[in-house]
């Protein structure tokens, strides 16, 4: 070919390329929204979510949000997510449980600390969040989702609460009135009364992994160690607005390492005693053989148990039951129950688990999508925007300042005001391996197959090993490890 033709061809090619290149750089974000926010599988909230995403598209036409279809089975999602990480295809924004996310840390997730300090451009002037995004969230929420290394890897747009749902008829017929419970001991007595009439009192399930037993444990361990907890706080996590708050992973690990939380302490005996009491008297027989939340729900539905500890997300389904459903909560510990209790009320067990746990994967930094992802989240968390979702989502309580809960969720406001449980679920207290070990040991103890002494010996070993593992990993951030 002669030069002339080549040049012509080359310039034609260049021209085509030039016009084909978009005038703006397109950013694509892949997001896995959990159930309640799914854009496809939730008939109630999907329209609201989709409407918000449409609005966002108008604001930011150069950003495409690809919402990944929801997987309602958590095991399936976990398998999917794990393999995506292994293959480098993880989404930009993904849901994950806070304890797992925090355990995985910055290997998999992006620290959001700097972003939380930035202003949220979508919030109108004068409202919280305008100057600093973190102001949109409640301090106790932020305190609880903070990881052991001091970073935040997620935001929480909502929380779940838990409550005691009661079969009113069954209780009334048998002379049990939870509203009359003043202390833990009263509750245990009611359980005994029910048992005497051959009725299963409380539905809770327990496995070596997560289970509703963990909620029970959170409250009991707090009641047994309440007078010590505040002395374990570290200054960097504390704020004068929160004299009582939940312990952080680092704080608890330090307390273990320094021998302040130990099985030889008489408080541990109280802990075990309270646990044994409720297991023997209150929990449905065979609780150690129930492996799914759905099964407890089933026991409550068919009238096998008089009360069940369920999450607020189950509330909508309870309206269909053939009997009237009441709700109550666990009463506080009195001096006869735990001599170490200092609070006059019971403890809140609920979030940070929820649908609205959203975080960025670490790879967004390399992909360059981090800023766009944060922008999307900032848009979503604007109170006026999020309100549209909160109005229709019934089972979760919104945790953004200025957003009102839906009528169904409003019933949990009282519980939401209770003081925080002192420690998070066992599976999140130290390492996940420690969590499953805790569950196994306590399970055997609660069904009478492991003696208190054996449990203490094995539990102390598990504690020490977990702290050792954590210190190996985090010796740079946790300076006290080397002392």
């Amino acid at each position: 070919m002669n030069i002339h033709k080549t040049l012509l061809l080359a310039s034609a090619a260049a021209a085509t390329l030039a016009t084909a290149t978009p005038s703006m750089a397109q950013t694509a974000l892949s997001v896995y929204w959990n159930s309640l926010y799914s854009t496809t599988s939730e008939p109630i909230s999907a329209p609201a979510m989709n409407a918000l995403l449409e609005e966002y598209k108008k604001l930011k036409p150069d950003v495409t949000v690809n919402s990944i279809d929801n997987m309602s089975d958590v095991n399936a999602y976990q398998a999917w997510l794990t393999t995506r990480f292994a293959g480098g295809d993880q989404p930009d924004i993904a849901w994950q449980q806070f304890y797992q996310r925090n355990a995985e840390g910055k290997d998999l997730w992006l620290p959001l600390n700097d972003y939380l300090e930035k202003p949220n451009p979508y919030v109108p002037e004068g409202q919280p969040g305008h100057d600093r995004w973190a102001d949109l969230f409640f301090p106790n929420v932020l305190a609880q989702i903070r990881a052991g290394d001091g970073n935040w890897y997620q935001i929480n747009t909502d929380w779940v609460e838990t409550g005691f749902y009661t079969n009113k008829k069954l209780l009334d017929d048998n002379g049990v009135d939870p509203t009359q419970w003043k202390t833990w001991g009263d509750m245990i007595q009611s359980c005994k009364d029910l048992r005497a009439k051959d009725i299963q009192p409380i539905g809770v399930f327990m496995t070596p992994e997560w289970s509703t037993y963990q909620w029970l444990d959170d409250i009991i361990i707090t009641g047994a160690w309440a007078d010590q907890i505040q002395s374990w706080y570290l200054p960097q996590y504390s704020s004068e607005y929160l004299p009582w708050r939940q312990l952080n992973q680092e704080e608890f690990a330090k307390a273990v390492k320094e021998g302040k939380f130990t099985t030889t302490d008489p408080r541990f005996d109280t802990y075990l005693q309270l646990t044994k009491d409720v297991a023997e008297n209150c929990l449905v027989e065979g609780f150690a053989g129930i492996a799914q939340y759905d099964d407890v729900y089933k026991l409550f539905n068919d009238g096998t148990v008089a009360m069940a500890w369920l999450g607020s997300w189950s509330a909508p389904g309870l309206a269909e039951l053939p009997f009237e459903v009441g709700s109550t909560y666990i009463p506080p510990f009195g001096p006869n129950d735990s001599p170490y209790e200092i609070n006059k009320s019971s403890y809140r067990v609920g979030g940070p688990s929820s649908s609205g746990q959203l975080g960025l994967t670490a790879i967004t930094a390399e992909r360059g999508t981090a800023d766009a992802a944060i922008d999307l989240l900032m848009f979503l968390t604007v109170p006026a925007n999020y309100q549209k979702i909160a109005d229709v989502v019934e089972g979760n309580i919104p945790m953004i300042q200025g957003v009102k809960p839906s009528p169904a969720a409003a019933g949990f406001q009282d519980i939401a005001q209770l003081p925080e449980r002192g420690l998070t679920d066992p599976i999140g207290r130290l390492t996940q391996q420690f969590g499953t070990e805790h569950n196994r040991l306590f399970q055997s103890f609660m069904i009478g197959e492991l003696s208190a002494d054996d449990l203490k010996a094995q539990y102390q070993r598990a504690l020490d090993r977990a702290v050792q593992d954590l210190c190996d990993e985090k010796s740079e951030e946790w300076k006290w490890c080397n002392e």
């Binding site: 398998a79 794990t82 990480f85 070596p208 992994e209 150690a288 069904i447 197959e449």
Partner: protein, 306 residues
Amino acid sequence: MTTATATGRRPSYYINRYLPWILLAPVMIHLIVFRYIPTFSAFYYSLTNWNGIKAAKFVGLRNYTDLFTDYVFLDGLRNMVIYTSIRVVLLIGFAFLAAELVFSFKSASVRTFWKIVFVIPLVVPVSVVYLLWGFIFEPQSGLLNTLLNSVGLGAYANQWLGTSATALYSIAFVQFPFVAGLSFLVFISALEGIPGDVLDACKVEGCGRFRRVWSVDVPMLRGSLIFIAVLIVLGGIQTIEPQLILTRGGPGTATESPGFYVYRAAFQYSDFGLAAAAGVIMVFVGLVFSFYTVRARYKGAYDVDL
């Protein structure tokens, strides 16, 4: 009719000589890519501390020593032995019984009817079966305890899955006394394959039903019995559904299994090195077990007359 190549041999000579290799080539390529390579990758991972994200660091045999000092894993191995033994006896027992009973019918169409009867239930997904048996084992409203109470055996009612003493046996007895469709078909077709003169010879000698079963059927079915037993054992080694659906390994470690251990290590702890090591051990257990049984089966396997 044929053209000679430079060496003087027809192309079909080469095909004839190397035919088995040609036939097996696509198979081997496929297996290498999709089975052997991932398997050896897993072997390699078992010597590292890979967590899916950080570059894998070689740690030698540490995962293996961790496994053998972890009482959870060891209990799982022990459980696996018990569970598998029970399953082999139950599944083979009832499948063989059903096969013998169906074999006693002379009419082929009757037999086909029963074959269909026992094959259709194979379509039920495993998760449904375990879900159902979870309901059956429930202490209060479950079928088992309700039945025991109604026939006056209430003293035996138990928290089947909630106590260590009974949990493992409960999951081993799931579906009792059902007939495993595939095993049943294997046995019935093997029985139908027994040469008629052998059966006649036995009758001439005055065999009763039981004697025939014992001295003719069982020896002739030796191959099928061993084959099915191996499959059940391999399945038992890899068992994971009862844990996933019913017990999650509890209470305590009563129903732990190596397969579930792998699953948990991989997907909950993201400790792929440990998961791979546990999986590798499962492979070796399977190999050791099968080696003797398969070799016994193939001893004297004749070379094929071409």
